[in-house]
Structures are given as C-alpha cells and as structure tokens.
Symmetry: C2
C-alpha cells in the first residue's frame, strides 16, 4: 500500500524546460465580456485563468470541448450547471465535463474565480495569439 | 481575428457526463508530510489539490513526471525551483515543468496553496486508491 512518505520521490527524470515564477496580477488580461477580465497562466497541457468579475457581470450560457474546473476565490456568483442554479462563494468549486453548458453571474459585490482548462482553452489561445499579432515589432 | 464576443459559443457537442458542484473543504484530506494536508479535486485529465501547511511545515525537494502549476492562496512560502529560492505570497504562482525539482517550506504563519497537476498526479491517485481499499463495505 502506498504511503504518504513515498509521495516526495527524488527526481529520476530530466526536465524538458526550467520552472518559472509568475505574479498573477502581472499576467496579460483579456476582457471576455463587459466587466469580465481574465488573466491566463499557460502551461504545456493545462491553463489556469484568473477571472475578475465586476458587480453583476456575466459569462453567458456556453459550453466548450475542454474540461474545466471552476473555483471561487472571492466574492459570490450564481452558477448554472446542468440547468441547476447554485449560489457559490469562496472555496466552492465545480467540475465541468466537456460540453456541459454553464453560465456565471457575479453578485452585487463582484467576484474573483479561477478556471482550470485541460487542455488549454482554444478560445483563449486564439485571443492570446491575436494580441501577439497586433503588437508592434 | 478572434474577438472576445466569440468566446462564449453555444454548445455544439454532447456532454460525456454531467457537471458537479463541490465544496473544497468537504473533500477528502491526505497528509503528505507532518503538518501538510491536501484535498484533491479530480477531473478526467487534470487534478486540482488544495494544500494547507501548518507553520514551518515542508514539502521536501522532489520532482515528478506530471506538469504542475503552483498558486499561493494565502500565507507565505519559501519555494525552491531550479535551485532558485523565492518568497511567495498570495497570487504568486509557479509553472513547474515535468521533472523540475522543487521544495516548499511554509512561513511561521503557515499557508494555503493550490496545486494543479496535469495529468492527475499518480502519487495522489495511489493514496486515494489505497484509502478506498481500506474502507469497510
């Protein structure tokens, strides 16, 4: 039976690239809807995007092929998932399988939440690439 | 060029399973080291694990094949990555490629951080499976 003491194994592989330190609030921000700004942190196979909602702002009902974990970091949201509506606050989370429709509306104080997309969400990769194209040399 | 208004597309695929709501502090907890307790939230291709460190507790230097995003949610940590030591506080993050050695030591007030593993970390899956085996029918 595995024991927790086995969990911190010594390195036996070779890193493919170095690790890097990041400050979330210095990441590039993308406005997804009025009052909804997200800052994606991109790994190789996964993306974590930190979304700040102004009071009463909304991510309308939508769905996508990427799996998503939704985690509330601050504030309050009304979240619709499978047609079920819940009020979510700090440390409430949702597991959103591919193509499950969901909708998020921030409360009157706004809110802050983390989206984890696996694989990285193509719609955000497209926005990142488009901004890169716009940049002057 | 993509626009943010394209981001919230209508569902065009069929969900493979329903979404589900989760309360992080009701997830099963696993002690990885003295004073270090983590609560994994398992998706299909990704795992988010919420780790609470008692004051001065430590994840010793280790490495693993899974990619990891490390996000500080509260408190303070000393983190070693590529042999570089940094003090990390709320909303500091690190991108840890496969097999990059890292070490985490909580400050005198302890701390709370989120690990995102892609794919789900096998060492944690083993602990989850072992506990399942231990449970009475």
């Amino acid at each position: 039976m595995p024991e927790a003491s086995d969990y911190f194994g010594a390195p036996v592989g070779t890193p493919t690239e170095p690790g890097r330190f990041v400050r979330i609030d210095e990441l590039e921000a993308y406005e997804l809807a009025a009052g909804l700004l997200t800052r994606p942190l991109l790994g190789a196979g996964v993306m974590a995007s930190f979304a700040r909602y102004e009071p009463n702002s909304e991510a309308p009902l939508h769905a996508h092929v990427e799996e998503q974990l939704f985690v509330v970091l601050d504030g309050q949201f009304e979240v619709e998932l499978n047609g079920e509506l819940r009020t979510m606050t700090i440390l409430d989370a949702a597991v959103i399988a591919p193509w499950v429709p969901h909708r998020v509306v921030a409360g009157p104080e706004g809110g802050y939440q983390l989206d984890i997309f696996c694989p990285p969400r193509q719609g955000l990769l497209d926005l990142i690439a488009a901004r890169g194209d716009d940049e002057p040399d």
